[in-house]
Symmetry: C2
């Protein structure tokens, strides 16, 4: 989680200074963008480190959680892609691996023969519980922020997601 070669200064603040010095537009948006990029990198690295003992990537973990939360423990692959905002081919790949790991298997859809369901099994549920404990224990790398701040962050990014057309709002 910690950076092996820390800088002595805030690279994003420095970039913003230069951005403005060059007379470029939208410095606040640039700084926020770069901050989100870096935050995502930090959070992802933290989570993946916690997930390594379970041989799960964050994407596979998210997919497992989604299935664990679903009504019957199964969902059509396409619906998974919609929920996780992933390309269909990525879903195929993820389900392939989870199936190889014996945590999930593909099942025929009861009425639509085009559709395949991914179904989580008992091993999958056990793993997802343990993996969640491990990830939660790291606080997702967000220990520096309290719950009020986290909620404000989530609310701000919600606006962004609505504007991008993720959901009606």
């Amino acid at each position: 989680m910690s950076n092996p070669r820390p800088l002595g200064f805030d690279a994003i603040a420095e970039a913003r200074r230069q951005w403005e010095a060059h007379g470029w537009d939208a410095p606040a948006a640039m700084a926020a963008t770069t901050s989100i990029m870096r935050a995502q990198q930090i959070i992802l690295a933290t989570a993946e480190e916690a997930l390594r003992p379970f041989d799960l990537t964050f994407a596979r973990y998210e997919a497992l959680v989604l299935l664990a939360f679903s009504r019957n423990g199964s969902l059509p692959l396409g619906k998974m892609g919609d929920r996780l905002m992933l390309h269909p081919t990525s879903v195929t790949n993820i389900v392939d691996r989870l199936e190889q790991q014996g945590l999930v298997h593909r099942v025929a859809h009861p009425t639509d023969r085009r559709t395949k369901l991914a179904e989580i099994n008992e091993d999958g549920r056990r793993i997802v519980d343990k993996a969640t404990e491990a990830v939660s224990a790291t606080g997702f790398g967000m220990g520096a922020l309290d719950d009020a701040e986290l909620n404000r962050l989530t609310a701000m990014l919600r606006k962004l997601r609505v504007a991008a057309g993720d959901f009606p709002g």
Copy 2:
């Protein structure tokens, strides 16, 4: 930038509800994490769409900007990796491509023969100016937030970066 298959509801709010219903820990951190992941995806897609006419990925664009901002228009590859938080291999790959595109070339370090410098040329500077115009025009996909919100966002994520050891703070 807009999602081809929008959901009718907020998937992250729904995930949080289920997370709490299962009695799992740190729901606020989970929701914030997932929000950052999705925000990064949106922003990246927006930027890459704007950069496509210039045949640049966001990573290559960031590298070009870094070089354009540097004192002599050149930096050692390792230093670029530190600033951009990239693995040395990724820097090699990025500079390879920028060199193929004729925007950058590798130069020997004046005193240390291990080190190579990436140096931006006139074409590179011209492209980075135009690309910046294109990216700024999209507001980085953050049009839904005003400058005050963007600054609060940046400040919160700054805490996170300090905690991860990016810089002393």
